[in-house]
């Protein structure tokens, strides 16, 4: 192997769990910055420990514990820059990474959109570190997994498959312009699918929080089991436009995807759903129902995100859609400068303001509709309208005359979050959701929406 010799030492320089404290990370990064011979250097350090356990068919299948960190070095010479990452933190290893980033940067063509590194910044204080998560051991993870396995086994006609991952993380940046930021966090995520052994029913539930103690394993297990049983023997219904009640997970699955479409530059360039015909963007226009307010805020108690971007730009509360009006699009630092706008980070953490309708009220007020637990395999079909396709999964139910009457076969939709949020009828309480395909800190309410576009039936359970 072409691995550097310096790695094969005899003693271990790496701390248990591969975490670095604020001061350790700062000292390490200062050393990196001092090594630089380039005009500019920005270094990022991230890592931590994750423990995971996976189970299926009522037995534990795989489980692991992983310690890892990486150093990311960006060197710049005027408008030229390049990035090198390494997991080798030996003195020779980090020097090699710095020199290599310098060598590549010198050879790289000019980047006319290169932005100067930021000077020191002030960041908000977000506490996303919980000792209960950081000190977990394999025995505790196994016990948590067994809450679902034991319940499914005891039932006799159910198979549980699930995944628990919990761990620590740190992220730090420094530059030769004096910038420094550090953010430690913990995270615990639990997702569970319970299937009935006759193969006709499947139910899903999940929970996510930085604090392990906030994950109610029994409640997740009860919910998935209830959904699995209730979803047995689904009937076929005609695809078409239906009133739907989307649980928070399903709303998050679809609406989070707006993050990929809210880019200011694409809109200005005429290749976005937010470009206006004839030129310009739709900022300031009412684009969805007035009950919709969508924002990012790392300090929000339900979000608890990192309060800065990878470039070191502070992140605060950014409102994207307020009472249905598009307030702003996402501006990179370069595009903001060009358009005389403010750079505003992205939608890494995103929350939709909830309402006070209960799911029971939504069901009771629905003569005919469909309740959806979650969505699956969402893929963009047409960027001009943010049109996505995907399917319902793990708990899809028919509502007739204000009651859930039976389970229905899963359905494929072709729908845009923009169209859907225009057809909004009722808004429920916002919850942190656990299983979106893009991940991240995501908080959404239950929604009742009319005319949701289902285009075909699926036999999949």
């Amino acid at each position: 192997m072409s691995a550097p010799r310096s790695l094969f030492g005899s003693s271990s320089p790496i701390s248990s769990g591969d975490m670095m404290s604020r001061s350790e990370a700062q000292a390490f990064l200062e050393r990196i910055v001092k090594l630089s011979r380039a005009d500019t250097i920005a270094a990022n350090l991230n890592g931590g420990y994750t423990g995971n356990i996976r189970f299926a068919a009522n037995r534990i299948t795989t489980a692991g514990g992983v310690s890892n960190s990486q150093l990311v070095v960006q060197s710049g010479y005027g408008p030229k820059h390049a990035v090198v990452t390494t997991s080798d933190f030996s003195p020779a290893g980090v020097e090699r990474a710095v020199r290599q980033s310098e060598a590549i940067a010198k050879l790289a063509p000019d980047d006319p959109e290169n932005m100067p590194l930021l000077p020191p910044q002030q960041y908000g204080d977000v506490n996303a570190w919980f000792d209960a998560t950081a000190t977990l051991d394999p025995v505790e993870r196994a016990a948590a997994a067994r809450t679902a396995i034991d319940a499914a086994k005891a039932a006799g006609d159910l198979a549980a498959a699930g995944f628990i991952i919990a761990g620590t993380n740190y992220n730090a940046i420094a530059s030769n312009t004096g910038m420094y930021a550090y953010f430690p966090s913990t995270n615990a995520n639990y997702q569970l699918t319970v299937r009935t052994n006759d193969g006709t029913g499947s139910g899903w539930a999940g929970a996510d929080h930085p604090d392990w103690r906030q994950i109610d394993f029994k409640a997740v297990s009860d919910r998935a089991i209830q959904k699995a049983r209730a979803s047995r023997n689904p009937v076929a219904i005609e695809p078409g436009r239906y009133t739907v009640i989307l649980e928070p997970q399903a709303v998050g699955d679809l609406v989070q995807l707006l993050a990929f479409a809210l880019d200011a530059r694409s809109a200005d360039e005429g290749r976005s759903a937010f470009s206006k015909q004839g030129g310009g963007t739709k900022i300031g226009e009412k684009i969805v129902d007035s009950k919709v307010t969508l924002f990012s805020d790392p300090g929000d108690a339900q979000l608890l995100g990192q309060p800065w971007t990878p470039e070191g730009l502070p992140l605060g509360r950014e409102v994207w859609i307020e009472n249905g009006v598009l307030k702003q699009l996402q501006y990179s630092r370069f595009w903001a400068q060009k358009k005389n706008a403010r750079p505003n980070g992205g939608l890494g953490s995103v929350k939709m303001v909830g309402g006070d309708a209960t799911t029971e009220q939504m069901i009771a007020s629905t003569p005919r509709g469909i309740l959806v637990t979650r969505l699956w395999y969402l893929r963009e079909v047409d960027p001009r309208t943010v049109l996505y396709t995907g399917l319902t999964r793990d708990g899809t139910f028919l509502i007739e005359n204000g009651r859930i009457t039976r389970s229905v076969k899963n359905l494929r939709f072709n729908e845009s979050p923009l169209f859907m949020l225009n057809n909004l009828e009722m808004v429920g309480r916002s919850e942190r959701v656990a299983g979106t395909e893009s991940g991240g800190n995501v908080v959404f309410p239950t929604l009742k929406v009319r005319d949701f576009n289902f285009t075909s039936l699926s036999d999949a359970v």
Binding site: I14, D111, Y377
Partner: protein, 540 residues
């Protein structure tokens, strides 16, 4: 599924002829390294650390263990229009140790490549296995595998992409971008190069030691045309397939020479006619069909899915239980033969030995239209012992164990899964000529399929209306919806050997924590009868 975190998806035909004679510039010739394909023996220091892990595992009570020390490198050159966006080199090195204690797996991983670090990772794996101890009936049983004491493999390649100077890579991209930008209406081009080099060392307690170097190359390219009044925009992308080849492959794909055509195809989509919904015969090009094979054949024939092991994420399979499907389920017509292998040259899943230490074999997953086998690992092969015994075949793994890095545990991943050519010497034009009313589709686009792989919807890159055996015009807003067994049973014509091409993804996603796998799918142009086509265009 293919992962959302994919960079930009890619596809389409780089003709086999273009690959045969790479036209190298002088500088590129200079970048060649002498005999890069000569596999070296395992580095002694690496072997010593691997043995350290295996000894610690045995001492800790493991009945089986394996250890992997790997170096995983990526190189990206990212451009748009006439400028560079970024140049990125990533390098990750570490050890992953897997132990089996009383039939229960445990896994530990660390980037600490000292003896103490490797032993600590092994102890972590042992502690996890003990905490998760399985009841006797649930314990893991491994199929036997012949030990390989000194396995060596290198991806066949001419130029190691990691030796090619950055400015040379950037120059090729910028020149290609310029050609596409010459087309009226084309306002934006995004292109990049993406290279992978994996140096993988493996040892297990059966006595297998392998050292392998895998190289993969890809050039994602997207040209976007915008209508002058901002009323429409269209993109042509997925033009060059990823492959397990060196830099010579991207040079031979001749992006500069083809870019204008890609730009013209983007601009032409602005003027294409919106499709009328209805049922059509579809003639699917290999640059498109590979993805349909990936989603609707390769995934449902993964044995872990069929056994319910992926129920919580990627999903299960309609092709289950295996006892009711093997030897009886008609997936498609008799002309349909689907092969699994990790041996096709250039295939992204091609390798010498898998991450169980098994030499993969070539096997027919679907034989004359009937389900014949599943993709397996050493843990999974015994689940089909009844079938292999009936077939008078040994109970052995097909070599489908894979981990995407040193820090993820290996599990069943896809080999190259390919539709074998038909006996008749037919090609793309023959299939179109034989079709009265249909749509020909080139390149892969939007894709989505349910968790049991029944209901799928696929878009594409270029859509052509066929009338009376001829292409009469271009269409847009086309997607087809299908139910897997109905769709494959509607296949009535396939191309011959000369029309065989491979498509691939760098980002097949599966597992928790999520892992990606690069995989290729070879296929021939094929015709499907009476498929449901929808129009995806809407008004904003």
């Amino acid at each position: 599924m293919t992962s959302r975190r994919d960079f930009l998806k890619t596809a389409t035909a780089v003709g086999a002829a273009a690959l045969a004679t790479p036209a190298l510039s002088r500088a590129e010739t200079l970048a060649r390294r002498a005999a890069p394909n000569e596999p070296a023996a395992m580095d002694p220091a690496t072997k010593e650390l691997l043995l350290e892990a295996l000894d610690a595992a045995k001492l800790g009570g493991a009945e089986f263990a394996d250890a992997r020390i790997g170096r995983y490198r990526n190189n990206f050159v990212i451009t748009r229009e006439q400028q560079i966006v970024n140049v990125v080199d990533t390098d990750s090195l570490g050890v992953g140790v897997r132990v089996l204690v009383s039939g229960t797996w445990g896994f530990g991983a660390s980037r600490d490549l000292t003896k103490a670090g490797v032993v600590a990772a092994t102890k972590e794996a042992l502690a996890i296995a003990r905490a998760n101890a399985l009841p006797a009936a649930d314990r893991v049983r491994l199929a036997p595998a012949t030990p390989t004491p000194d396995g060596r493999y290198v991806t066949p390649h001419t130029i190691d992409p990691f030796t090619v100077p950055i400015e040379q890579k950037a120059d090729l991209l910028i020149r290609a971008n310029a050609e596409a930008m010459k087309v009226a209406g084309v306002k934006f081009v995004n292109s990049n190069m993406f290279f992978v080099k994996e140096e993988k060392n493996y040892a297990n307690t059966d006595g297998t030691f392998t050292t392998q170097t895998v190289i993969r190359s890809w050039l994602p390219f997207a040209a976007t045309a915008v209508a002058p009044d901002f009323s429409d925009f269209q993109t042509r992308t997925n033009v060059i397939q990823p492959m397990a080849r060196g830099y010579e492959y991207l040079v031979a794909a001749r992006p500069v020479e083809h870019a204008r055509q890609w730009g013209e195809e983007a601009a032409a989509k602005l003027k294409a006619k919106a499709v009328e919904v209805g049922r059509y015969d579809l003639v699917l090009h290999p640059s498109h069909l590979w993805l349909t094979i990936h989603e609707s054949i390769a995934h449902p024939t993964e044995l872990d899915r069929a056994m319910g092991y992926e129920a919580n994420y990627a999903g299960t399979s309609f092709l289950a239980p295996p006892r009711e499907k093997l030897g009886t389920f008609r997936y498609g017509p008799a002309i349909m033969n689907i092969q699994g292998d990790r041996s096709q040259e250039g295939g992204c899943s091609t390798i010498g030995w898998d991450d169980d230490g098994v030499k993969p074999d070539e096997f027919l997953i679907i034989k004359n239209g009937i389900v014949n086998d599943y993709q397996t690992t050493r843990e999974q092969a015994p689940m089909l012992d009844w079938w292999y015994t009936k077939q008078k075949r040994p109970v052995r793994s097909h070599g489908c164990s894979h981990s995407d890095s040193w820090n993820d545990v290996q599990f069943q991943r896809m080999p190259n899964v390919s539709l074998l050519p038909g006996e008749k010497d037919l090609g793309w034009d023959d299939l179109i000529a034989a079709t009265d009313r249909g749509i020909a589709i080139v390149g892969d686009g939007s894709f989505s399929i349910d968790q049991q792989r029944y209901n799928a919807q696929f878009g594409g890159q270029l859509f052509y209306e066929i009338k009376g055996g001829r292409i009469v015009g271009q269409l847009k807003d086309v997607a087809y919806q299908m139910r897997t067994p109905d769709f494959w049973n509607s296949m009535d014509m396939i191309g011959g050997r000369k029309s065989y091409e491979m498509g691939a993804s760098f980002f097949d996603g599966k597992g928790q924590p999520g892992q990606v796998n690069a995989v290729s799918h070879g296929c021939v142009p094929s015709r499907f009868r009476n498929v449901n086509v929808i129009n995806t265009g809407r008004k904003a």
